[in-house]
Symmetry: C2
Subunit: 325 residues, 2 copies
């Protein structure tokens, strides 16, 4: 099933069940006021939501209305935690190659994960407001999962059983402070403004065989100002989501609604292109001696979508602009 | 005024106003259901809470009852963000000296700040549950501030005007994964389990002249199993709270209820002792050639309190044990 959140004046927004083709949605307030509330009570909420899906598909659900992604919030406008991995090692290897850096310690064996701000997520059409183009504004196309309560010390296999929903993410990044923050060791603050999300959070069964080994095995198409910069496939994720969750839960429990990101989707085959501008630039640097593509400017538009090969939509599209304060 | 949060089955708990001597408290639900709600509506809530304080001190407040810190929650059991600085440079300098590390980039000019988990804070008497003594369990005595909405790009002086409350913190740390996570650059996850808080969040006026230059100019006494390990003074903070807030808000807004920590309080005068065991150990290493004091074991108790010289309590004491899962 596909779940989304409409604005209703509350912080967590109003939960709706969205039709498979993303054309219409029905309010789910009778089941749970918000997606966060549903995740905290998933054993009870899930069957009721699935029953509502059937009514939505049959056109009989109460309050069924056209699904307007123009005003949509992030599926979880705020989450208990936002932990973003860097699970496609190809991306890091390219960065290290271009800048002549040695790999970070245990890069190949332990996922890198940073803690991001989780109180101010952006809906799929909301602009990224950022102070200055000289910060080197970039997008990052990612997949993510939403978990229920994960006990401390959960192992990677068991962690997979805690995945309730899958999301599609634009992890907006500022590349000017990024390397500086990385060298300082304390993680990313200034390099990571608010994160954007595609309209729908979906259950793994929506992906059928494309949800495999704890990975979203589908391409994520990324466009900047209507030009494709890449469509790398999620199947090349070197650490699966269960491994990232287990890494994050080694010494703490995770509470229901915590979001775990994959990091920028990245493929070894250069024909796949890239899911962020920085990676386009480092490939240009490696292959041609210098980067050519510019970072984003105010007014630039980023579109990201992952759909099935037959065009069936999954999460809906992220379509965001960069805006001045 | 002094504000605290009692358990009531909700995530944000029930707001109470506490008497100056911490002996009694009155429910403030008529003003705001929780401290987080009050912070989001501070202009309205503050005068009403201050009026209730007068009734509490006069013994006329409705529902006035003995203040029991045994079951107390953190003043904010969850917060939008928890951003912890490392603003006492003496601490970092000692660590670098003991381990022969060069200082982190711009250590002296830009505060180091990591993003911590903010969904699962511990009350003043709650145990720290952690999986394994071999993780080198440690406490860190800190001060912190709670802000209202801070716009992106707020400068350090203006940031001081967004401080609504001051808190006292035990930033539990696991020292085995700490240096590894620092070298990996993505910040601290495994090294930082849930953070503990003293019972009361207090308004800056409670500190009178001891709130000075954006710093808590009072000693923080730290005891392990009833033995003093230090009482360093907050006045030596090299970056004041406004500077840490401005650093964190450079490229993002902070929402009301965000907590900003000082990092371990640390003084150059060795007679002050230390607010964490690691610092005791590095001083032993520097002065005597090898560390002597052990990290914490299951069952060990950490007490932290900051009071006025005449004994007037401020935040109340943190008194936590280390516990097995």
């Amino acid at each position: 099933m596909k779940l989304a959140t409409l604005p209703n004046g509350t912080e967590d927004g109003a939960l709706v069940v969205v039709s498979r083709d993303l054309t219409c949605a029905a309010p789910a307030q009778g089941i749970a006021p918000s997606l966060l509330a549903a995740l905290r009570d998933w054993a009870r909420a899930e069957p009721a939501l699935r029953a509502l899906v059937q009514q939505v598909e049959a056109g009989t659900a109460q309050g069924l209305a056209p699904f307007d992604s123009g005003t949509i919030l992030a599926p979880l406008p705020r989450a208990p935690q936002w932990l973003d991995g860097s699970a496609f090692l190809n991306h890091g290897r390219l960065m290290d190659q271009a800048f002549g850096n040695p790999p970070l310690p245990d890069f190949e064996t332990h996922p890198l994960v940073y803690q991001g701000a989780s109180d101010d997520f952006l809906g799929a059409r909301a602009p990224l407001v950022t102070p200055d183009e000289s910060l080197f504004i970039d997008c990052e196309g990612e997949f993510g999962v939403v978990v229920d309560d994960v006990p401390m010390g959960t192992d990677p296999d068991a962690a997979l059983d805690h995945i309730r929903l899958i999301v599609q993410i634009n992890d907006w990044s500022l590349r000017q402070p990024g390397p500086w923050e990385l060298k300082r060791g304390f993680g990313f603050l200034q390099a990571k403004p608010s994160t954007g999300f595609a309209p729908c959070a979906i259950t793994p069964d929506e992906l059928s065989a494309h949800w495999r080994g704890g990975r979203v095995c589908l391409p994520l198409r990324v466009e900047v100002n209507d030009e494709r910069i890449g469509e790398p496939d999620g199947s090349e994720m070197d650490f699966h989501f269960g491994q990232i969750i287990a890494h994050a839960a080694r010494t703490r429990r995770l509470t229901a609604g915590t979001i775990i990101g994959s990091g920028t989707v990245s493929n070894r085959d250069r024909a796949a292109g890239s899911a962020c501008i920085t990676e386009v630039r480092v490939i240009e640097k490696i292959d041609k001696g210098a980067p050519e593509r510019a970072f984003l400017n105010f007014g630039d538009r980023v579109r990201m979508e992952c759909a099935l090969a037959d065009g069936t939509p999954l999460f809906g599209a992220i379509d965001q602009r960069v805006a001045r304060p």
